[in-house]
């Protein structure tokens, strides 16, 4: 699908927010799903996956970091330029599991999809956001608990420390939703197990098709007979933390 870019602006060093209008995606997207964006450069043939960070009306928002040559090309797009995007793809967070209270935990760019999620859950959630130093998107959340590794703002330390501290005084929740670096997800998983709270994590893997056909985006998921490779793009990106086998 061709969509027109509304803006593509710098939020923090190396981190951008892009908004494009696409009614089809906007209407059917749920939090935790992603879009797959084609680059306008014939030498780069794979699409790039980005979580849907927010939906307002027909407008889809993503927040991304420049990591390599693809995101660099994307960062140079301007308002009015067209992008070729498919989505919404994947299986997002299961919001029906939130009856009274969900804990939402995000680290780094993993914060992006949690904005949409927290908006859907409105006042039934407590949001924990972890940054290295520069904040972004924080003003769009309602009363988030912020931590930074450098201590520039909010708690000094990891977002999982803030989560642990919180759970010590108030150890109940229907579910924890987490998105962020693998190290953080592992820590959240073990916290969730410690407190016996179900937990969903959103995974990342290098992708091809994004629609479940090429089998390149594997992650290890527990099964009766040990484990199977499942597809991050179609079976995920969100999985029950219990079922995910984090390698290494």
């Amino acid at each position: 699908m061709k969509s027109s870019i509304l803006f593509n602006r710098l939020l923090a060093p190396g981190i951008y927010q892009m908004a494009f209008s696409c009614a089809d995606i906007a209407r059917s997207a749920s939090p935790g799903q992603f879009v797959h964006i084609k680059l306008n450069d014939s030498g780069h043939i794979l699409r790039r996956p980005f979580s849907i960070s927010n939906i307002i009306g027909d407008i889809v928002y993503i927040v991304y970091q420049v990591r390599g040559s693809g995101t660099l090309i994307i960062s140079r797009l301007k308002s009015g330029d067209e992008i070729d995007v498919i989505g919404p793809l994947g299986r997002g967070f299961d919001i029906s599991r939130t009856k009274n209270r969900a804990l939402i935990v995000g680290g780094g760019l993993g914060i992006a999809p949690l904005l949409y999620l927290s908006r859907m859950l409105s006042n039934k959630s407590e949001v924990f956001l972890g940054y290295k130093d520069h904040l972004f998107l924080v003003e769009e959340f309602e009363h988030p608990i912020v931590s930074t590794e450098t201590g520039i703002s909010g708690y000094r330390g990891f977002v999982t420390d803030a989560l642990k501290e919180y759970l010590e005084s108030s150890p109940m929740a229907d579910i924890i939703y987490a998105c962020g670096p693998v190290g953080m997800l592992k820590a959240v998983k073990s916290i969730s197990q410690h407190y016996g709270i179900p937990c969903q994590v959103s995974l990342e893997e290098r992708m091809g098709c994004g629609i479940g056909a090429c089998l390149v985006c594997s992650c290890k998921i527990k099964a009766e007979d040990g484990w199977h490779y499942m597809r991050v793009c179609a079976d995920g990106p969100v999985f029950m933390a219990d079922e995910v086998i984090f390698d290494d």
Binding site: K38, S42, G43, H44, I45, L46, R47, G70, I86, E205, R206, M207, G208, C209, I211, G212, A213, C214, L215, V216, C217, S218, C219, H228, Y229, A234, D247
Partner: protein
């Protein structure tokens, strides 16, 4: 009237376009984007006797105008394929080509026998996968072995046999002749070229499997040359593939000598790629006033 029909090894295809094995899942994944009934044929992912998990991720790397993959023949095994995937596929009015792989010749034969009486159109013998230790490319690098595997499988097969060749050889013509001698009804070329990508920052290979198979536009010149050479050397039909993204790319393969073409990596880029290719061929035929697509097969003036 524009006639796009072609015949490969007795399979009637309503147009010359099929999918390249492994890039189109079992077809149904694309049903949301593509009217599967429009395809000339559907070639499904490699099927082995036993289920396989494949290689650990990352399994894909982007390279200049190409990709590397190291999926490694992940598949549910022939029994599950027959039980769960095939019934979905045969609902469509499209010939199904099953890509067959194995560790041993006997495994290839057993897969073929399990499928022999089912409504599929042909087997594609995958002796060219670069991502597995046994079988695969090991079978496809030596003409004697190619002839032997082809002959044995052909003997046990009730369907036409298409042999898919590896480009990682000194002489693709020797491979093609060996497959012919073994009784192949058609040839698919090419499978992926063995390659590697490195992340200089982490000083690690990008693929967990270290090496992978290179596909996409980057390899098109090599694929075209191989189709051209093989077309001059043998008389059985060729399914050409390697970097086909557009109808014009497909036409180039047909001019070089392919009777049909397969669209692979392009599916990963655009879910509608296979339809775009069919439409592009049609446009070209219209523009050049070509009545039958068969007229351009091997029609390169060189």
């Amino acid at each position: 009237m524009i006639d796009m029909e072609v015949e490969i090894a007795g399979i009637k295809m309503k147009n010359p376009v099929t999918t390249a094995s492994g890039t189109f899942g079992h077809g149904v994944e694309y049903a949301k984007y593509v009217d599967l009934n429009r395809l000339g044929a559907i070639t499904v992912k490699a099927i082995t006797l036993e289920p396989r998990e494949g290689n650990p991720p990352p399994r894909i790397a982007e390279t200049p105008s190409g990709i590397l993959n190291s999926v490694g023949l992940q598949n549910p095994g022939v029994d599950t394929f027959i039980r769960e995937d095939l019934p979905e596929l045969i609902k469509y009015q499209v010939p199904i080509i099953v890509n067959v792989a194995g560790n041993t010749i006997e495994e290839y034969c057993q897969v073929v026998e399990k499928l022999n009486d089912l409504p599929i159109a042909a087997f594609e013998l995958n002796i060219s996968c670069p991502n597995v230790k046994h079988g695969g490319m090991a079978f496809g690098s030596d003409p004697h072995m190619i002839e032997k595997v082809t002959k044995k499988v052909k003997n046990r097969s009730k369907k036409p046999l298409i042999v898919k060749l590896s480009p990682n050889v000194t002489s693709i013509v020797d491979s093609a002749i060996a497959a012919c001698d073994g009784g192949a009804d058609a040839l698919s070329l090419i499978n992926t070229l063995l390659g590697m990508a490195i992340d200089a920052e982490s000083r690690k290979p990008i693929l967990k499997n270290i090496t992978g198979g290179l596909s996409g536009p980057a390899i098109k010149p090599i694929a075209l040359r191989m189709v051209y050479e093989v077309h001059k050397a043998v008389n059985i039909p060729i399914i050409g593939m390697g970097g086909i993204m557009t109808g014009i790319d497909a036409i180039e393969f047909m001019l070089a000598g392919a009777t049909a073409v397969a669209v692979g990596t392009a599916n990963l880029v655009n879910p509608t790629a296979v339809i775009d290719v069919i439409d592009g061929i049609y446009d070209y035929m219209q523009r050049h006033d070509i009545k039958s697509i068969k007229d351009i097969v091997g029609a390169l003036s060189a």
